[in-house]
């Protein structure tokens, strides 16, 4: 416990370092302009527009409910995949720092996660805007908005742990990123992002695929993120319980893996 505390303290002591690197990444990504930010949001917006067009034409889905639901899911999914896939290389891209100066290894996956988190937040603000545009300004309750604070904390911890796990695994197996890309592509269809609530219900009842949706580790936090913009209300307590349990498990796995590998990473870069 004492070791953990001093480790976190060491991370905090280096905050100027990793925060300025995150700022550098953000600046490089958006080129310091509003247009840059808009450009980077094109992907979820275009995806949402296309899918909404398709679904409302074929399945006659009501756009007002479906658009915020879909875009929240897509934004979340983009955070998960970029954090994990960029996380794969987090130790390799930081090799120059690792070889020069001792610092807690967890700061490099943290940099990756914070970069994607910034992007996620911009996307989520758009989602809130979309939801309010369709349902009226008072749609999302204050409790619903406040519920996002613990949700974002969970999401950040979950993302950090994912980046650590993928980073360590890639140090061990070089070709992991490639496989992960395929894996996430498959997982996308096993995560209720494109499927509306009714379709999810019918999928869950099918014996062949239902269990995959139930066991999918990316679902609990997705629900926490989507409920406020879809229903305007804070998520159920049971959703928080599931999300917290999942995050804790992932964080513990990442922490244990990091503890055993922290000193060995440098020899495998």
């Amino acid at each position: 416990m004492k070791g953990l505390f001093s480790y976190l303290q060491a991370i905090w002591a280096r905050r100027h370092f990793w925060l300025s690197l995150v700022r550098c990444d953000i600046r490089a990504r958006y080129r310091g302009s509003l247009l840059g930010i808009a450009w980077s949001m094109l992907q979820p917006i275009a995806m949402t527009t296309i899918l909404c067009g398709v679904f409302s034409t074929i399945f006659h889905t009501a756009i007002a409910d479906f658009a915020p639901y879909l875009m929240a899911g897509l934004t979340y999914w983009q955070f998960i995949t970029t954090t994990s896939l960029l996380g794969c290389h987090c130790f390799f891209t930081s090799e120059c720092y690792i070889r020069q100066h001792p610092a807690p290894m967890a700061i490099y996956p943290l940099r990756t996660m914070l970069g994607s988190a910034f992007h996620f937040l911009i996307g989520y603000v758009l989602v809130i805007g979309l939801s309010l545009a369709f349902h009226g300004v008072g749609f999302i309750s204050v409790a619903g908005l406040l519920s996002l604070i613990p949700t974002f904390v969970l999401l950040a911890a979950f993302g950090w742990a994912l980046a650590i796990i993928f980073g360590l695994a890639t140090v061990r197996f070089r070709d992991l990123k490639h496989l992960s890309e395929v894996g996430f592509q498959a997982l996308f269809y096993l995560t209720p992002i494109m499927y509306g609530p009714d379709q999810v219900q019918s999928l869950l009842e099918r014996r062949t695929v239902g269990w995959m949706f139930t066991l999918n580790p990316f679902v609990p936090i997705l629900n926490l993120i989507r409920d406020p913009v879809v229903a305007g209300l804070p998520p159920a307590l049971s959703s928080y319980l599931a999300g917290t349990l999942l995050t804790l498990t992932t964080v513990v796995v990442a922490g244990l893996a990091l503890r055993s590998q922290e000193r060995k990473i440098i020899f495998n870069l």
């Binding site: 300025s20 690197l21 490089a28 690792i98 070889r99 001792p102 496989l179 000193r263 440098i266 020899f267």
Partner: protein
Amino acid sequence: MARIELNSIGLTFRVRRHFRMGLKEFLLGQMFRRSRNPMLDVHALSGVNLRVERGDRVGVIGHNGAGKSTLLKLLAGVYQPTHGTMAVEGKVSSLFDLALGFETDASGWENIAYRSYLQGETPRTVKAKRDAIAEFTGLGDFLNTPVRYYSAGMLVRLAFSIATAIDPEILLVDEVLSVGDLAFQEKARQRMHDMMDRAHLMVMVSHDLEALAKICNRAIWMDHGRMIQEGPIEQIVAAYRASAMTVKAA
């Protein structure tokens, strides 16, 4: 109080014999067949005992691959020992792998900040010494351009200026006496000497025995990861020279 103490330090790491392994090779080659790419134990350091007190200037000599730079990285905390105990007390500044560690898309100014933060500085202390660092690099307007457009020499100048802008208690140096062009070399040498004067203790790796003899008072001789001799600099340098001569004669 600056102090270094190593007690029977060993550093062993495992690497693959041929290439780094992917999941594909692991699944194909490890689970179903006997490995064609076995693990290899590298004993980079073994049984190293060393005490360095305030005022000591220690030169490290030995052949290539003797473990000199590994020892330095261990003292810097970049490597952790796998055996033995060590204590390094004091603010460490290390001068090695100088050209590494830049964000290539960021400007020289920004990299000054990043690198200083990594060394433990804060925005306030960086602000105070930024201009002095910039001045010393002599890069002028180039500091506004991304580092990716710098030449190798310019990178080293920038790195050297940042790394030497702190007042360390423990100074670790690995063969950086020849930095940049002629004019900068002279400036760099002067600054190195200033730093060495101010540092409480210093450990320096070099193949330049003349320079070591001038700067250091003690020396250690490394061979195959072991410390084979330790003592006053003249004595060790003489012994090392003699051994190199016998190898040549034989």
